[in-house]
Every structure is written in C-alpha cells, then in structure tokens.
C-alpha cells in the first residue's frame, strides 16, 4: 500500500531537488512499482508538469526525458529504426500496453530492478543518465549504485551500437527468467545478462567476433556472472538460458552484418 502524507508538484527541477532532500521523500514515476509493497512517503514529488516526456533525435544520439513511458519506447519509430526494433523487443512483454502507458523510463532506471529488461538493453548501448545535481553519469556507473537523492531528468543514448535483446519467460507477460542483450560497436561485441534475477551486468566484451568464435563468447559471458534460484528458474537453468540466448543474439548480429 502506498501512503502519501504530502503531495508536491514543483514548478522547477531545483524545487524538485530541494524537496527530494527531505527525509521520506520520493519522486513519483508511473507509480507501477511504488504502489506495490508498503511505502509511506512524507513527500511525494510529481514532476509531470516539467515537460520530461520526450524522445529527441540529436543526430548522433537520442535524448529521452525521464517521464517517457515504456509504451513511447515501444512505439517510437526513430528509436526503433536506429536500433533494429530493440526497444519494442525489450519492453513489449512488460505486463500490457495499459501498464506501459503508465510506467516511465525514469522509474525503470532509478529502480535498478533485478528483473529489468530496460536496464539490460541500456547497458548494452552507450548511454548516459542525467541527474539534476550530479550531471551526466555513464549508465554502467549509475546501474551499480543505489538510490541517490537526486532527480533523474533524462537519458542520452548514442547511436553507435547495433543491438539484439532476447528474454525467456514462463508465460508471455511474466517477469523474465533471464534477459540478455548483445551489442556491436567499433570496439567489437558486448554482452549484458540481466534478470538472473540480479541487477543486469556487462558480462563480456568488448571483443571482435566471427561466426565460429561466437559460441565461446557466449559461454564466457554466461560463466562470468552469478545466477539465483527462484520460481522462474534454477540457477543452472538460467545460466544455460543465458548462454543460448547470448549465442543466438551474437549470431543474429553477425548474420545481419553479412547481409
């Protein structure tokens, strides 16, 4: 149950930041996650009046506002054209479209969830998270930290990598048993493994690959991270899935390149 003692709709990010310094405060994203569990917010900060919902094409990168919804990521033609449909693939199995019209990019990133399809994809790309006070932080640095009292304002995604994201679910809209992403840039291939069910992590790369070395890369990546047991799969099962999906994703990128 979510209890809110005081609701604030700041007019500026500075005002929002000052409110966020108060004990017991939190920013409201789409409240999909916040509404679960027992939370009492002394100050709930609603940024919906600050124009943070956008996807801007900046030439070599995209700039996405924190209040961009998962459905926006799924349906944005420029974003999906630039990354071979990876955003639609990554979020298309998250609950349902009504939910994806509510859940935000900011909440999905800030939550750093151990089951996150979104974080898995973003770690495979070259991205930076913008925090109002701290400024730009590489997504891998951000992903490894915990709940700083700052405001996530936007995300920059560079267009320099091709990416393939795959997940395995027990049924269509469940949490994933495992999600992987493989990307390719100038420096070679990078593998990310998430929903293990721990926070997504870069598992291997950058490394140059061919069709014949891709299976070894997948094995190395799958061996590099830890897995947990749970109702969506045992640790050995998840590890096996991670290897198979990583190999498939790497081969798919290599084959696309050859076409």
């Amino acid at each position: 149950m979510l209890h809110i003692l005081n609701y604030e709709r700041p007019q500026t990010l500075e005002e929002a930041y000052q409110l966020r310094q108060k004990k017991g405060s939190a920013v409201l994203g789409g409240t999909g996650w916040l509404r679960l569990g027992e939370h009492t917010l002394r100050t709930a900060i609603d940024l919906s009046g600050l124009g943070l919902r956008y996807i801007k094409d900046e030439g070599d990168s995209f700039l996405l506002g924190a209040y961009t919804t998962l459905r926006d990521l799924e349906t944005s033609a420029p974003l999906n054209e630039a990354f071979g449909g990876a955003f639609a693939d990554a979020v298309g199995s998250i609950v349902g479209i009504q939910f994806r019209n509510c859940a935000t990019l900011g909440g999905s990133l800030y939550g750093r969830f151990g089951f996150s399809d979104v974080l898995t994809l973003l770690l495979a790309l070259d991205c930076e998270v913008h925090l109002y006070k701290e400024g730009w932080v590489p997504v891998e640095t951000f992903a490894a930290r915990n709940g700083e009292p700052d405001i996530l304002t936007e995300l920059r995604i560079y267009k320099n990598r091709r990416v393939k994201v795959l997940s395995q679910r027990l049924n269509a809209n469940d949490f994933p048993s495992v999600t992987i992403a493989v990307s390719k840039g100038e420096d070679g291939f990078r593998s990310v493994i998430g929903a293990r069910p721990c926070r997504a992590k870069i598992a291997a790369g950058p490394e140059k690959l061919t069709l014949s070395t891709a299976p070894d890369f997948a094995k190395k990546a799958a061996d590099a991270v830890s897995y947990g047991n749970g109702m969506r799969g045992s640790a050995p099962y998840r590890r096996q899935l991670a290897e198979v999906l990583t190999r498939r994703a790497a081969l798919s990128l290599l084959q696309k390149e050859a076409e």
């Binding site: 809110i4 609701y7 789409g30 509404r35 349902g96 479209i97 009504q98 939910f99 019209n101």
Partner: protein, 157 residues
C-alpha cells in the same frame, strides 16, 4: 490532506478534492463510473482500464491527483460503441461472467483509434490485449470477436 483537482470525465468538467494516495479507480467508482472494475490492484489484470487523454491506462495504478487537467474516459462515456462491440463479444461467447468486459472493451476501442486506416491483424490484436486477463473465456472468443469487429468496421468505413 485533500487536493483539489479538475478534470474532464466523459466530456464533462468535474472538480473534486482527493487524498493524494487515492487511486483513480476508487475516485471514478465513487463518482458513479461502476464500469471501472477492481481486480488485482497490482497492475496485472487490465480490469480497471480507462483512458487518460485517449490512451488506455490502469486506473488502479494512476493516482487520482494526476487526473488534474486531463481527459478521463470510461465505458459510461462510450455507450453507443460499447453496445456494438458488446454484441460481437456476446456472439462469440466472449462474455461469460462478464467482469473483464469493460476493461477489454476500453482496450479494444482504444486500439481502434490507433488503427484509423486499416483493421489490425490478429497478431497485433493478441499483442494489444496481452494486459487484459480473463478467468472464464480462454481468450479465443475475445480474439474472434475482436477480429470480426475490426473487419466489419473497416468494411463500413
């Protein structure tokens, strides 16, 4: 503490005061929109689907304060269309207990607006309806009804 909000509900401007942690589901039912059904209340079933500015959202997940300044639509505001679509669901045996029907119809009618130029394919319909759970029908009757509805609508257009 209560917060004053003004929003348009089914085309009519309404002003109310709401506690900050009340969900839209509660508020709409209190305002007489009993088509908005309470299901899981954990964002998973789609029974509580309403439109916010024309897009389907989960009223159990959206805080009522966030309706301020927005257009909210429930099935009460779409009665002529609901009657027609309901006929298709009934014809295909898609309404058994009927509890999921308002949420399902809100989703399908939103989908219709996202496809102004063509009928969506069956695969697109299945994807769009993934967030609407039904404990009775087994879903196939919903899909048959939706396919027939969109095809007929397209022929009429």
């Amino acid at each position: 503490m209560e917060y004053p909000i003004t929003f348009t509900l089914n085309g009519v401007k309404r002003s109310v005061s709401v506690p900050a942690d009340r969900y839209l589901l509660e508020q709409l039912r209190e305002m007489g929109c009993k088509s908005v059904k309470r299901g899981c209340e954990t964002s998973g079933c789609g029974l509580c689907t309403v439109w916010m500015d024309g897009k389907p959202v989960l009223s159990c997940t959206v805080l009522a304060v966030r309706a301020d300044g927005h257009q909210i639509t429930t099935l009460e505001g779409l009665q002529p269309e609901a009657k027609i679509l309901g006929g298709y669901l009934a014809d295909e045996g898609g309404e058994q207990c009927g509890y999921c029907a308002p949420g399902l119809m809100m989703t399908l009618l939103a989908m219709e607006r996202e496809y102004p130029d063509r009928a969506p394919t069956e695969a697109e319909i299945r994807h769009y309806l993934e967030g609407n759970l039904c404990r009775c029908s087994g879903y196939e009757s919903h899909i048959r009804a939706a396919v027939a509805y969109f095809q007929d609508k397209r022929e009429v257009k």
